[in-house]
């Protein structure tokens, strides 16, 4: 069905995707890498349009124009703090497209009577994975926007298991009775429900894992669609994305010291059994004021800033940039300590700080910054909690035991900017806040940082 020229064109675009992904993983070449990927996609589209299989163009042009307009508007308008939910949304659309492609070719093939076991099985996989990706990503989108707080109902796991069993049954029926499109649509429906059920209970700090996993699934849905259409490019490009998503998922799990099944199937860890907040905090927490923090910073030679999701919520990245510049003008050495799962998606903090024009050379990874905290005069923690909780090192019974953390408690003074002493995602109190060298600065992250910068100017 495909001409040789089309196949060769697909080879060129597969090579561009490979080179693009390779360049995307190096800071110096990443922009070029993204352009390689876009060029590969353009070649794939042009080559397909030139192929003999395309007979009419009205619907294609309408879809291309509409999709381009919507995608471009969303991409240009999104704020950097909202990037995680937009990526989740795009990801869902990719999965949805794979479902529709599989459904379209499956129902055509059924009409022509060219049903083969292989094609039906591939169509079943594409519709199931695609549907899970589609609704799962929409739920993730809602959760990341914080407009969706629903986290499921009692007995949901039973429904999920039943749904998974139903999916196997419908997929089998699709292969046996390929002339009947009903099975495909039932499978899509079950997949859609499963996507909702699996992603709904997951929240908070586990979000980066889910986003990475959905990213991987959207690639696998494209692979399955490639098996339906007998298309080499879909198989290759989909596999590359599937593999890269899996690697990112694994990196995120390691950073949280949680296994993937634990993230997917066990509820968020709760700190109910540990010491209560009153025991940890009573009489030991010292609060401070922006003026006092400015005095501390005035004499500091080395300052570390540790941002968490609170920085994104407070839109404090530009205020933090101003503070860092002011400190540098005074001769202090300022670095940023970035925990791998800080924020709502992998690398979220890096994007926000880069938006504020903080050079990525100043952003120091956990393993590199941890040995330096002992020589740090002042560490400022903004809107981070569990990732700086020393309990992870000290208490083996804690829900976050063994999770790699930033050892901010080892610096001379720790200033924690936070609205209150409320627990983080893990739901446990943080002894850091009650530490001998810790000072709490209560308030909105951005306002607090602006106040400190102002006070520093007046010294």
């Amino acid at each position: 069905m495909m001409d040789d020229w089309t196949t060769l064109g697909y080879l060129v675009s597969a090579i561009l995707f490979i080179l693009g992904l390779k360049r995307l993983s190096r800071p110096r070449t990443a922009v070029r890498g993204n352009q390689f990927g876009a060029a590969g996609m353009l070649i794939a589209v042009v080559v397909t349009l030139a192929d003999n299989a395309i007979l009419s163009f009205e619907w294609i042009i309408a879809g291309l124009v509409l999709g381009t307009a919507i995608g471009a508007i969303l991409a240009v308008r999104v704020r950097m703090t909202a990037m995680p939910e937009l990526v989740a949304l795009f990801n869902g659309f990719g999965g949805g497209a794979s479902v529709l492609v599989a459904a379209a070719s499956f129902s055509e093939a059924g009409d022509l009577g060219t049903d083969t076991t292989r094609m039906s099985a591939a169509a079943a996989l594409a519709s199931l994975i695609g549907a899970v990706t589609f609704t799962g990503s929409l739920i993730a989108f809602g959760k990341l926007r914080e407009s969706l707080r629903w986290s499921g109902f009692a007995g949901m796991r039973v429904v999920s298991v039943t749904g998974a069993a139903a999916a196997v049954v419908f997929a089998t029926l699709m292969v046996i009775d390929a002339q009947n499109p009903l099975w495909l649509w039932l499978l899509v429906a079950v997949g859609a429900v499963l996507g909702v059920l699996v992603v709904s209970p997951i929240g908070g700090a586990d979000m980066p894992v889910v986003i990475a996993l959905l990213n991987s699934l959207s690639g696998l849905a494209a692979v399955a669609a490639g098996f339906v259409l007998d298309n080499s490019l879909l198989i290759i490009a989909g596999s590359l994305v599937g593999a890269s998503g899996l690697i990112l998922t694994q990196i995120m799990c390691v950073a949280m010291n949680r296994s993937l099944p634990a993230v997917m199937f066990s509820p968020a860890p709760s700190g109910a059994d540990g010491p209560s907040a009153d025991d940890v905090y009573a009489g030991k927490v010292r609060s401070t004021s922006p003026d006092d923090v400015a005095m501390l910073l005035e004499s500091a030679e080395r300052v570390a800033i540790v941002p968490g999701y609170g920085l994104a919520v407070a839109q404090a990245q530009h205020a933090v940039r101003d503070l860092a510049r002011r400190l540098e003008e005074r001769g202090a050495d300022v670095v940023f300590g970035i925990h791998p799962v800080a924020g709502r998606m992998p690398g979220h903090m890096n994007v926000l700080l880069a938006e504020a024009e903080i050079s990525y050379e100043r952003l120091v990874e956990m393993d590199d910054i941890n040995p330096t905290f002992e020589q740090t005069d002042v560490t400022i923690v903004i809107g981070a909690n569990d990732v700086v909780n020393p309990v992870a090192r000290t208490d083996p019974s804690s829900p976050i035991a063994g999770m790699p953390i930033l050892d901010v408690d080892k610096s001379n003074v720790v200033v924690v900017i936070k609205r209150s002493l409320s627990p983080g995602f893990a739901g446990i109190p943080n002894p850091l806040f009650a530490g001998e060298n810790s000072l709490m600065l209560y308030g909105d992250g951005r306002e607090a940082v602006v106040e400190i910068t102002k006070a520093l100017q007046q010294i």
Partner: protein, 104 residues
Amino acid sequence: MDLLIAVTLFVLAVFLGVELITKVPPTLHTPLMSGSNAISGITIVGALVAAGADHRTFTTVLGFAAVTLAMINVVGGFMVTHRMLHMFRPKRRREAASDESGGG
């Protein structure tokens, strides 16, 4: 395409993907994710065939919807990745770049 050849392609591409991505620095996790996400919009190729191969109206409508969704994924994904990566560039180079593109 022979099924075994298709499976071979799949397995080799997975290994290649793992090799390509393993050493990516955390700074680039978000752009890498959104860039690879845009590449997963490759399903646009299948969508084009479904929408343009003069099938029944129902199939054509499915194809049209698939083209639209995949195109949002592709165009939005590459553009948003470009925006993010642009912020990672050193300031001087960034200003030079926006001068070249007429202040955009």
